[in-house]
Symmetry: C2
Subunit: 753 residues, 2 copies
């Protein structure tokens, strides 16, 4: 048997997915279930003075219309706890009522007949407007969960206020400093001071949110089927609103048709309460417009960067401030931004700051490498501007300042093992970079950028058992977003010594499965993989010991080969695994079940870096950018399944092209999202695929990763926009400092040149 | 905290059960499911020459009518593999077709319209008739799974044939001999030679069989929800007919509303095929008449006993032959009978034989202590007859010959630790026995008998995790028939050091749960309990180690108290278990999940003995027997929950009263069951409860049982009928040698006197 690690195996659920056989959340129908539809606010900020449900409830097939008075009084301390508006709506799309009916169509008809009386209030939209000291407060009565003072006045000074006084809508600020900024800028030969902006971007998963909730017949237990990245996360949220013990709530993760950070918990608590209030199972599948206006996209940002460097290529000072428009709830991502801006390069004097501001807009959330594409766009653009100003090679300028393991991150803690230098080395040697002058000669622009993701950790456990048919069954609780089940088949198969198709991965619900953290932060292979290896190794040892007794040979003299245990090199002694397993599963047997477990808690993160090179041309008449070539070189630790790894890289970069060139959530002055359909919101599509789209990997093993593997999902989305922006600047000789690089912006920049 | 072992706690699912909140199999409804009804044979033996489904399929709401031609060609090697009759029916109730329709009522209407053309064949019913050499063969073409010769001629000579030639319907024979029978009888001062008969008896669970099967959308996996005692057993059977890997079939055990051995696997394979053929989920709930005529009751038996003993009370020879009318399939219980007849007493010269014969009747199956009530009725009656003939005290006669640990069982293997002598000692000292002459003085009869059950073993595993709300969750796969979940809460709570209501027992399905054997043979507490203890102890150690780090104290200096870990004797140091658990379940945590496992395979059985004393009066005019007092004294090893133990004892003895006095499955000469409703079949009811119904326990610990516990479910049903029969003989001075002791039989015996 050749090694299974490194083998290219197709997704184990790929065929049923593309053939339409997999049951997603919206395919589930429970006997007697009700269908729910939302009534949402058309106002960005208003008082709710009356709700008339008479007409709606009279419709045949309508079960009930639920409003805030039907629900427990729960503080809306986060988006998923917002439930239904009590007396005030804070964004267009804010849920006001929930209609329950015998069919989805009836529920929608009835939702249209719920009459809500609104009294509009002053509102604020847009990052610049909300930073003003006199901005209308999003939470005039105070942000739930924050101290009243902090909520009313902003936690700290930030944004344009420049001091102790701040906009009422500043909700969070994290700043990390080191060295002496003034001195650093004084030592610089050149200083770049620019402001970069990125648009709000939607995750645009194919599958909308779909949830089904059933309250058990005794009323003290609940089952939630939902398309979530974090079943235990949903469990705790639902248990909280139902006032149940967390372990009384069973969350079954349905296959996720795209999550990208947006599917943690949204309407599950509301639907759980609806099921409790109605006494019937309740199902809701969002439609696309609801996804666009009420779900949790990536925030629009503004990044001010002041960067100083010596002519020799040494960075001397960095002052960077990220402001994120978080919509009506803070996202607690203000720490991530400074870390992402101030860690990849070693600059002795720096201040990196992340500020969260609120507006009367849908709350934002995580989107694949949250905050990283925005920060990379700013920092990697500024570095390129500096290199250009000092006439330095942009790759060598980066390499000269690149962080290495042991160097300090923004917060002062040391980088663990990581491969930024190796990625830059591989880029330097790649023909696409080496031959860049040929491309330029054709009028094309070349841009590079790097993106780094720190990686996540969260404890995880696994169980393993050998079944009576010889199948090795692995039980875990992590949600499979990116093909981890297939990867785990390979990890288990290699550890045990059988083929991957003899491995069955069971993704348990929160009651039947051992704990695993949410699927997010590029950590599932890294954290669950070792738990699986430990569980499998334990069962392997049990199997060898059982066979040892049967074959009358030392366990160390045995091997697993071709689905059987044999004395090493003696196939005539082979006992099939199935036969051994059945010895432990029969009446009267005195052999213990073949059952093992693994528990893992990683001691630290395994950061992943992805360098990108874009080769573009710009239509001088229209400003349209064409990406001809896109190269990704990523440190993946170890590519357990290179096919899936390249798939992650390609998918990430395609989304990166969306950030770079197309995607922009736009809101009008009334707070209405004007890009609320996929006709109005521009996603990249297959015609935008670069002609040459090259994915390459380097392998700097993660010391505690399974076979050295580290997370690969997040890194490839980060640097694309910056690489394309740098390539556009290279092509047209002028800089576009706002994403997306839409034709008008590119044309305008070209005109400045 | 006082010890939880020995505490009387009510069934954890008792309230939802009696309040109608628990969902049984027939409560489950899947979207789009079909309802199935059977078409069964009205003939005891016939060729099926044509099936006309035209009328049935024309009915609105009928999906299809499935017959043998729609199914794969599977040899009917057991009752559950019988599926649908191909060309021959072998008993009244033999399934011929299965109607699938949108409702149960429509399916039943359509089933009534399926026209089947039968060509009747010679048939045989009744044990004596089928033993005849010229009996019509039940399997003229040979018993599937047996060699053709064995099938056609009987495996060995047996029954009335007395030699090499045997009835064609003898299907199995097991004989164990020791010593010299002839010499033994020669040494006897007295010889008893009698024939005892018991009627066929139905398990009469409240809940009928209910099964729901869904084939997964990809067609290569199936889920079966069914009221079964053995989920893995069903899994293997269903996988076999669907030609799937066993691990592709997920069996979810629904709450069992009474099993008593009858709910292992019956129509699950047929319904799985129906779901596959129809492409829809299929559900079937049997009605009471189908249960009575097509399910698997306990066999009618005839036991010939020849017993020799010395005047001093020493048994010298035992020759016992048990013949069981197994219906149309052998039950492989022929070994059990000899073991039960020839082990409880030490007789130097003995031959014990079990013979299975077939008839054109529904196949029989297991019923609580299969074969044991029948064997005990014969042996314990014969012993009583001997004691009476030799004027020996029946208790002392038993005690003089009673087996002790290490003594030989019928097959020659030694008895493990068991408490027959302790049970007899306790009976000897009990007032009901001591004061028996007072009862006699009132014209009542006193009878005693003992029943022993060897106990079963089968490997089992368990998983344990501490949840974020402080609940200790135990995952097992055994089906709870008798309250084992509540018992396991106590075992886990005692092991961990928390209260039982903080323990949640999850009974997993065959995919999510670790392996456990079927629930049968009084073995679940004995086999699964230690696995739970091991898993809990592992988690406890993990918890103490985690707390050790937090409290900066050695793990050995810590204790778990009031739901928290504290330094011994220092409650101010306490950290709640929930808080510790959450440390292992959060983003960024470096603490491993609190997750443990246990694996158990018992090295041997833990036999349980139950002695019974009945005090009866007999109405001289009607022959009606009234049981005034019934005493059970049972060795339970350790009563983990005395309330549940007494419940098992009481339930068993009530069923024993059914055997003794009321229950009899009767068939007419056409093979029609004439006791096919609960109006015609006499179950004991609450008015039959003895006025004094006393359950007492002795505790001879099982060396490897959890806290010394052994199985308690089977022993209490075994001796009741014999004790009542002995009491009736004591009362009327004449012996009834056939069960049930119906008034006509008692009257007739009285007249003989």
């Amino acid at each position: 048997m050749t090694s299974i690690i490194g083998r290219e195996i197709k997704l184990e659920d790929g065929a049923p997915k593309v053939q339409g056989q997999l049951k997603f959340g919206s395919d589930l129908v429970l006997h007697g279930q009700l269908y729910a539809r939302l009534v949402t606010s058309p106002h960005a900020h208003a008082l709710v003075t009356a709700i008339d449900t008479t007409g709606a409830t009279k419709l045949e097939g309508v079960h009930s219309v639920i409003t805030a008075v039907d629900l427990p009084d729960i503080a809306p301390a986060s988006r998923s706890m917002l439930l239904l508006a009590k007396d005030r709506v804070r964004f267009v799309g804010h849920p006001v009522a929930l209609v329950l009916a015998e069919s989805e169509a009836i529920a929608q008809d009835a939702a249209d007949q719920v009459l809500v009386n609104y009294e509009p209030q002053p509102h604020v939209t847009g990052l610049e407007a909300t930073l003003a000291l006199n901005a209308a407060p999003v939470w005039p009565e105070g942000l739930p969960g924050a101290s009243a003072e902090a909520a009313a006045h902003g936690a700290v000074g930030g944004g344009d206020s420049g001091g102790a006084e701040a906009s009422p809508n500043v909700a969070g600020d994290s700043t990390f400093e080191r060295g002496n900024l003034e001195q650093g800028f004084a030592e610089a030969d050149h200083i770049i001071e620019c402001t970069y902006r990125t648009a709000g971007v939607h995750q645009s998963y194919i599958e909308p949110h779909a949830t089904l909730v059933e309250i058990g017949p005794t009323g003290d237990e609940a089952t939630v089927w939902t398309a979530t990245q974090g079943t235990f996360f949903v469990r705790d949220a639902v248990a909280a609103v139902l006032s149940m013990e967390a372990s009384s709530v069973r969350v079954v993760g349905t296959p996720v048709g795209g999550g990208f950070g947006a599917k943690f918990c949204l309407y599950e608590p509301l639907l759980a309460l609806a099921a409790k209030v109605s006494g019937r199972p309740v199902s809701m599948t969002m439609n696309r417009m609801e996804e666009m206006i009420t779900a949790t996209p990536a925030p629009a940002t503004r990044v001010k960067v002041k960067l100083g460097a010596k002519r020799t290529g040494e960075m001397t000072a960095l002052d960077a401030e990220l402001v994120m428009d978080c919509g009506c709830f803070p996202g607690s991502m203000s720490i991530l931004g400074p870390m992402l801006m101030g860690s990849n390069y070693q600059c002795p004097n720096q201040r990196v700051q992340g500020v969260e501001v609120l507006t009367n807009s849908p709350s934002t959330g995580a989107y694949r490498a949250p905050a990283a594409p925005q920060c990379a766009f700013a920092i990697e653009s500024a570095i390129d501007e500096m290199a250009r100003a000092l006439d330095l090679d942009p790759l060598e300028f980066r390499a000269a300042n690149a962080s290495k393991p042991g160097d300090k991150m923004a917060m002062g803690n040391p980088w663990p093992v990581m491969g930024l230098v190796e990625v830059l080395d591989a880029m330097r040697n790649h023909p696409m970079w080496r031959d860049r002058e040929q491309a330029r000669a054709q009028g094309r622009g070349i841009g590079i950028a790097i993106g780094g993701w720190p990686g996540g950790i969260e404890p995880a456990a696994a169980a393993c058992s050998l079944q009576g048919d010889g199948v090795l069954q692995i039980q875990i609780s992590s949600v499979d977003l990116t093909g981890t089940r297939t990867t785990f088949q390979q990890i288990a198969a290699e550890t045990f010594g059988i083929e991957p198709d003899q491995i069955r991965i069971i993704s348990g619900d929160t009651q039947s499965g051992p704990f695993a953290g949410s699927t997010g932060g590029s950590k599932i292979t890294y954290t669950v993989g070792p738990a699986i290896m430990e569980a499998v190794a334990e069962v392997k040892q049990q199997v060898l010991e059982l066979a040892s007794g049967v074959l009358e040979a030392d366990a160390e003299d045995l091997e697993i080969k071709d689905g059987a245990v044999q004395v090493k090199g003696a196939p005539q002694s082979a006992i099939p695994l199935a036969k051994l397993a059945r010895k432990t599963m029969s009446y009267g047997s005195t052999h213990k079940p073949l059952y093992g477990q693994g528990r893992n808690a990683q001691p630290g993160q395994a950061p992943g870096f992805c360098g990108q090179l874009a080769e573009v041309s710009v239509d001088q008449d229209t400003g349209e950018v064409t990406v001809h070539k896109l190269l990704l070189i990523q440190d993946v630790g170890k590519a357990i399944n290179p096919l899936l790894v390249r798939g992650q890289m390609q998918g990430g970069a395609m989304q990166g092209l969306g950030w770079a060139l197309y995607e922009e959530l736009s809101t009008n002055e009334d707070g209405q999202t004007v890009t609320a359909t996929l006709s109005d919101y521009a996603l990249p599509h297959i015609a935008h695929l670069p002609t040459e789209f090259v994915m390459e990997t380097v392998e700097v093993p993660a010391p505690t990763g399974p076979f050295g593997a580290k997370g690969v999902g997040e890194p490839p989305v980060i640097a694309t926009a910056a690489a394309v922006a740098n390539a556009v600047a290279d092509a047209v000789g002028a800089r576009v400092r706002s994403l997306p690089l839409s034709p008008p912006r590119v044309l305008a920049a070209g005109r400045e040149n």
